[in-house]
Symmetry: C3
Subunit: 481 residues, 3 copies
């Protein structure tokens, strides 16, 4: 076990180092990008309308064939390997209400929250459905594989019995992907999302295998495995998914009144269902604690997000903070929701996290954008990244303070919690970076969306007649060139 | 029992024959319609504004009196006949989560999905509430009557004890009516809906009595009794509820960006709650299988609906398919969700059904409209009709393949499933046709909506000041005449 | 106990007397207001833009400091006093589905329903979140205090064990505050809401202490403690929260098509979850009865609200009645939902209440506004006040008609129910009036919103670029002065 911990520290030192020299490397990459985009054999025609059109056709054909083929492979594997976990249905059905609540969060909550972009509603909801539909069966298979690795009583090829706990894990994986998607939303093609939905679940499960199965970390609400992992993965991807000035100042990278209200609706449902999210896999009294702690933390975060919003926003509230930062309290309880952190402690954690999250939208997101050229579109850093980090710290403190007999590793549990945090960050950083490089360089023609069609539905959707009139006119090609 | 099967075959042969000569008969009816509309004593003034106004007043007065009188009758009957089913509340309360989920589908899901029409939001939601409010007590009474017919231990007049399983059945009946409503939405008056909500539940329960109580068909999620029945009923009604060219090309028979997003919200909630819909009346392990199968099938259908949409839509997604066809996977599991169709099998069924449903919107709906002059406004054929048929076929295959001991009729269960399918189609076709004839001919003045007010709220609703500005201006009387 | 009853009668006689002389007193207050507004040391600059700006800064600073300080006090008190109620988690988790359903009503239902104001969507949802976040911990503390007062086995200072039943009570308190907020929506500052959320929960719990703990009244769904209390409290506040002519004729005190649809979405979710609301604290068979009665009553109210709407609205439906009056059936079952009122009786009660509620919007609200200068913005009188009164009457009749052994006071239970009703009205009237006087006179500078910014988000929110274009232009300063 110590070997793992040491390996982790080494990897993270390397990554921190790497992060430190980010800008140097970025300049290199930018030059490299410039070269490949202008001269590379595969993308010489990306700058022209005809080139883009032919790339779009290619992307469309590959997407249709690849996604059908991939789904067919998953179906065949499920057909060969899976059976229903029957014989203890009462125990399983106890999980169903949580499954349904998390499903509300994944499909309605995330989908509507990401519809805050005024011209991206079809894509936000459509891609949320696409990602979930592809992720659930794939994650079921991956989960079965990694759970079998840990299971001494059965060999990997034996029939795996799928129960509602596996379905729930698959939804957690979908939530992770949607968090990542939030960081690069508006700039990806469906085919790129297909690649994302093939690659990221593998790393999600590798991370779970390492930190939960091997390191025995405590993470009841996915504070590390879902929120921190998804946010860091997306942030790492955003580095290569940020283009020139136009990306930042894009006229469709904004909301309108009705899209803000739709996002509020999604956000409010996320709030409502968050206690279920954190309590889903808790057991016994831990479930009661998870619910009470999450509600207390959400109340604290809601108040402080609103107050901080007014404090730093010139005496006015900012609806972005209401849509996002109020939820930071739920994330902050992600690791330790079922532990005895005290009700006051949970509320205080939420109070601090909500304020930090609101400030993140005002200070951290622009700083990342201007200093590192990393555009975090939905601000997942502030909603999932930093609060996820806080939840990991709360977990470390809680496992240190509470009775040793509660945890797998007794008094050394905090060390394992910390290792788990670093492993999560490491895997997510490396994974996000490598995946985004793959998508940008190897699969360059996939990103054939013209920059003036970033953050809108025009490239991939049939549009209603009033689309161009939504919230005034968007930018046209002429405005951009 | 054989007599029933034979009767069914005879009825369906006749109906198929009838359907074959559809067009001939239609021409006759069209001529007949022309005559009665121009010359008939009750409708000579339908073509004038004053005539419509007086009809509207008549319709309004009759609606107010008739619906209050009808509700009063229902209340008196409930008062005389019903008592609460107490004494086993724990067992009953297990049904409550499913009741609530189905209620979300019925009121929010269907209501919002049908709000896709850009100027019909008030009507879509208001009539959904009206239909449900009238259907629930009436269906409770009908269900009690037909359940008593099967109950040898009590005579019909004895007090009936209403439990949550009866309430759930009443919601299923409401869902059926809302599917039917989807086929003729935008062209009916409240009074016509009142007649619909009096007549269709009777046939819904007759169908259940025949195929479930008598034929012993397996239909856990209402694939036949709800989806197939409701869609065929609506389709049969649409034949006489399609007017001239203006109906098809009507400028308000379209969506706008915000109405599409509202419909997406309803559709996503239908997706989320569909596992509950299919698992509600399943028992034991069947409930676990119903949930897993429905989710697997929905994932398959979501992917293939999106892929098919892009394939047939010139490289772009169509939001209509995202709103509707992704749900076809839930319908496809309607009959056999709780059976061991294997997880891969469920996903594959969804994959096939979703693609067929998307194609249906592009090919079947226009074909019905132009070949048979049947306008299926919401496309219930593609979302409920064809997937309902697929679910019946899946049921036949599953009952043939699975262990005989599971089913009431052992190895001959598939024959009964097939009979049930034909009975459902027969009753729904005949019922829909007769009812629509009743509404059009006998009650001609009820449909006093001018064609330029089809698909909008103008005739029956007080409107906010911005109504005419929603998504550009609609058609006015002058444009149409 | 008789002393209490007598005291109540005296208080109510006084209050009725007071209400009778309302207008006389109002004239005095109006004159007083005129004097203090023109001459008072604290408000001499309210009429000028600079004065308002400086007041806004003051209000903002005080709001930020006071709400953080208040939340910190609550957190410290929770930290000192609270622990988790563990050891009987299965019993507690049975409450969780109801907790979650009520949470959907509180945050999504009320928030979206109050977004019917076309330019007040951010405020409606944001303040709903603010009120709930502040109310939940405060109500937990108050509830613990009053429950301890009744508990002979523990002294007040002993650690209080918080369970899901306490969390549920806290949500009920939030619902009460949101009902009150509905009466004065659009005219309050965040700081005024902070004061409201400090004061009203105290009176809410005092009322519960008197009528439930002391008088032993039956009130399973909060017909008196929540709906009647919240509505009367808000109505009493509205007396001093109604300004000149401009308040009534304000151009932003209206809806647009999309805001009406959002409110319909909230209303429909309230409908769906109302059975859970009324059944949450019922026990045994009472829970089944509460669900069936509430659904029956809602069906009745939905029909009669629609019919009445058309009857009094010139043959057209009014969407305001669909958004609100359909829910009156749920309120009408508030006191007696779990009793054997018979299913027909529940539906008939709903039928009557829905019609009265619709009529209330057409006749009572304008009458209050013009006769008493009380502007009830959301019409809580018609949705919660009158139906709450009906629910109290239903409770009196039901306790008189049913077996005496069911109730704490046997055959004299109806007297206690009636006393409870008067106590509720008395406390709410007095509380609302005193609080509003406090907010208007003592804290005059807090209400620095210019009248042309009533009912819109301009004063307190950062706005998207299309805000002014929403539903045509609103009133500007120039139009008003």
């Amino acid at each position: 076990m110590f070997v793992v911990v040491i390996a982790v520290v080494v990897v993270n030192t390397f990554l921190s180092f790497f992060f430190f020299f980010f800008q140097k490397i970025r300049i290199f990459f930018t030059n490299f990008l410039f070269v490949v985009q202008q001269k590379g054999p595969w993308s010489e025609d990306v700058g022209t309308r005809e080139g883009r059109r032919s790339h779009a056709l290619t992307e469309g054909r590959v997407f249709i064939c690849a996604s059908l083929a991939w789904m067919s492979v998953l179906i065949v594997l499920m057909g060969i390997w899976f059976d229903y976990a029957v014989g203890h249905f009462e125990e399983q059905m106890e999980l169903y209400p949580y499954f349904r609540d998390v499903l509300i969060m994944v499909l309605f909550g995330f989908g509507m929250l990401m519809s805050f972009l005024r011209r991206y509603g079809f894509s936000a909801n459509g891609y949320t459905l696409l990602i979930t539909a592809l992720c659930v069966p794939w994650s079921l298979l991956l989960g079965a594989f990694f759970k079998r690795l840990e299971d001494d009583t059965a060999s990997i090829g034996d029939t795996y019995f799928v129960g509602l706990e596996d379905m729930l894990d698959a939804l957690f994986c979908s939530a992770t992907l949607l968090i990542t998607f939030g960081a690069v939303i508006g700039k990806t093609t469906p085919l790129q999302l297909l690649v994302l939905v093939i690659v990221e679940p593998i790393l999600f499960w590798v991370n779970i295998y390492v930190i939960i199965f091997k390191l025995g970390a405590h993470d009841v609400g996915g504070g590390m495995t879902i929120h921190l992992f998804g946010a860091i993965f997306g942030l790492a991807m955003s580095f290569l998914f940020t283009w020139r000035f136009e990306t930042h100042a894009h006229p469709d990278n904004t909301s309108c009144y009705s899209s803000d209200l739709a996002a509020l609706g999604g956000s409010i449902f996320l709030w409502i269902m968050w206690p279920s999210f954190n309590a889903a896999i808790a057991v016994g009294d831990g479930q009661v604690r998870a619910i009470i702690n999450t509600v207390a933390s959400l109340c604290g975060a809601t108040l402080s997000a609103l107050v901080a919003s007014r404090f730093i926003g010139g005496n006015r509230f900012d609806v972005v903070h209401v849509q996002n930062s109020i939820l930071a309290g739920g994330v902050a309880m992600g690791v330790a929701a079922d532990l005895d952190v005290t009700i006051g402690g949970a509320a205080a954690t939420g109070l601090i996290t909500g304020a930090i999250s609101s400030c993140g939208y005002v200070y951290v997101t622009p700083w990342l954008a201007h200093r590192f050229n990393m555009q975090d579109v939905c601000g997942v850093t502030n909603l999932h990244g930093i609060p996820g980090l806080i939840s990991a710290l709360v977990g470390i403190i809680a496992t240190a303070a509470l009775d040793d007999s509660l945890f797998a590793h007794g008094s050394s549990q905090p060390v394992y919690q910390m290792s788990a945090m670093f492993v999560t960050i490491g895997i997510a950083l490396a994974g996000g970076f490598v995946l985004s490089a793959l998508l940008r360089f190897v699969m360059a023609p996939l990103n054939h969306i013209a920059q003036w069609n970033f953050f809108n539905d025009r490239t991939f959707w049939h549009l209603p007649s009033d689309y161009d009139a939504v919230a005034g006119s968007g930018l046209t090609q002429e405005d951009m060139l």
